[in-house]
């Protein structure tokens, strides 16, 4: 009724193979982009932009990165936090060695550094599978976080052991550092996320994405039909780490403005993994849903009980928050193991056939 493709005829193959074949989807996407690019920066409060939207977009990007690896290629990784750290530290080192080069170039370049490290730690994936691989990627996580803490070269021998983001400009407008406006940073992050999501969508709908999915469904069979496992798996590791690296660089340069090594510890990896699983494995939309739920839920839990007049001790809130998050994760998994993306599909189908049951 509300959402129906009747009357929309395809006259060529390209239209039929489009990512959004239905008119209403395209309109919806345009509305979302309009809200993101015009309404939020125009009307949104500083709190909304700085504390909700920027981190939400950055975590979505990281979740997309992990989803490419875990959801599309079926390689479980617990090293996401470290790969994000590689991106952040690479960007920091590059911009402190070459301060005159534009920071946007270094953010992209830091993704390539992260990709290289990802390939290195992805090498065992040809022999090691499943949970064994997950634990092997934890080696990357712990080794890299140790490097960020113990090797002073990474943080330019600062006494504090933390990295401080310098001010860098684009066309004379500061986009990183303390003087950059919220809205400017928001636009930079939004630009990165839109472009990289579009690239990811093209990747997973094309030949490479098919290869990844074949490997995920059964790597032995994929090998037999002529997909080279080593290259495919390493490409997945590289792409995933690239996304995570860029997300890590954005996280430090455009959100935190400085970082302790503890930011990139194993909890960040688990956090991103939650987003991917709750959002839906093997779905780009799901990555956004998952990031929204996992990131915004704690904020909402902290924000609403005082509003409703329930007096609670802050420490108690913290503990109850843990309990609620834990219970919600289990509940979501029981209700829809395929994640929020699947719920979204079901909802769309319901809208299509409404008012009839099927």
């Amino acid at each position: 009724m509300f959402y129906r493709e009747a009357g929309q005829f395809k006259t060529n193959y390209a239209a039929d193979l489009a990512v959004f074949p239905i008119m209403q989807d395209r309109i919806g996407l345009a509305i979302i982009l309009f809200i993101a690019a015009v309404i939020i920066p125009w009307f949104g409060s500083s709190f909304l932009i700085q504390a909700v939207m920027i981190p939400f977009l950055i975590f979505s990007l990281a979740a997309i990165g992990l989803n490419l690896l875990t959801g599309y290629t079926g390689l479980l990784s617990l090293g996401t936090g470290a790969f994000m750290g590689v991106g952040a530290y690479a960007c920091y080192k590059l911009t402190s060695y070459f301060p005159s080069v534009n920071i946007l170039i270094w953010i992209v370049a830091s993704g390539f550094f992260s990709a290289a490290v990802g390939v290195l730690f992805g090498l065992p994936s040809l022999r090691i599978k499943g949970f064994y691989l997950a634990v092997a990627t934890l080696a990357a996580q712990f080794f890299l976080s140790w490097c960020f803490i113990r090797q002073p070269w990474f943080y330019n021998y600062n006494a504090s052991g933390a990295i401080e983001v310098p001010t860098r400009t684009l066309f004379g407008i500061p986009i990183t550092g303390a003087t950059a406006a919220d809205t400017t940073r928001y636009f930079v992050v939004l630009g990165f996320v839109v472009v990289m999501t579009w690239l990811a969508s093209n990747l997973v709908h094309g030949r490479i994405g098919r290869m990844w999915m074949a490997v995920r469904d059964m790597d032995l069979a994929a090998d037999l039909i002529g997909i080279r496992l080593l290259q495919t798996k390493l490409l997945a590791f590289a792409t995933s780490s690239f996304y995570c690296g860029v997300a890590g660089a954005l996280l430090v340069f455009l959100w935190y403005g400085g970082a302790e090594p503890a930011v990139f510890d194993v909890n960040l990896s688990f956090f991103i993994l939650f987003m991917v699983i709750i959002g839906g494995l093997g779905s780009l939309t799901g990555s956004f849903f998952g990031a929204a739920l996992i990131f915004i839920m704690p904020i909402a839990l902290r924000y609403f009980p005082p509003k409703l007049g329930i007096p609670v001790h802050p420490a108690t809130v913290e503990h109850i928050q843990y309990m609620i998050i834990g219970a919600l994760i289990v509940l979501f998994l029981i209700a829809e193991p395929a994640g929020l993306a699947r719920l979204w599909q079901v909802g769309k189908q319901k809208l299509r056939v409404w008012p009839f049951p099927y």
Partner: protein
Amino acid sequence: MDILYKVFVDPFVQMGAAPDLLVQTLWEGLVAGVLYSLIALGFVLIFKASGVFNFAQGIMVVFAALTLVGFHEHGVPAFLALALTIAVMFGLAFAVERLILRPLVNQPDIILFMATFGLTYFLIGFGELIFGGETKVMIADQLLLPRGAIDIKMAGGFVSLQKIDIAAAIIASLMVATLAIFFQRTRIGRALRAVADSHRAALSVGISLEQIWVIVWFAAGLVALTTGIMWGARSDVSFALEVIALKALPVLILGGLTSIPGAIVGGLIIGVGEKLGEFYWGPLMGSGIESWFAYVIALIFLLFRPQGLFGERIIERI
């Protein structure tokens, strides 16, 4: 050349020069290894019987230890508190089976893995809400655990053994022996092994999966309680203990996810390797290599045996 000398020659020269230090390091490694083995044992029990990679094992250790200390703080005598804690662990096993495993039966491994993450978070929040976040002291004396150290003269020096460590090693071996007998000789043990072999075949001969899962989670809870007591007696009881779960993961993959002897041997290898690495090679790279050294050891073993030392051979068919 200098760096090669420092990596490949110098540590061994040091070992030869001070054999008492070497023995001391080995002993500490073995003791840490026993505790790693115990946690890994909890993982293996659950993984064998239900195919669930139970991330919550680490927090179960903390939770069990906190419950025990919490009961005692409320004036319950030590051994009664122990019994009550065992009852709580049974309740937990029962609740986990009812509320998490049963609704998620037949889901992919990764979903069950995630569900144990949810359980971890829930238990962290619940534990802190009830027992508070501050560190507590394990009631080791009341449970008649020995304290103090024995010094043994050897090789031109002293080796100091903590009595509690010796007790931990003895209790761990007793527990493994009991578990082995339980698995080999009893009716339930045979049912457990049948389930581990094949869920479907076990179901078709009339073994109740639900019952087996409760028993297995309960057994893992008992192992967690023992680990919690031992670890708590050496240091304090706090939520910082949950990081030892992450320490047990390399042990687990080194030994093989499905093998009880693997968990034991893996724990000892990792414990000794980690302490030796930290003591002799650590200063070369800046300290703190303990945090990742175990993973690197496990990774090297895995490259040669992808299923771990004692794991079941992975056979893939189209």
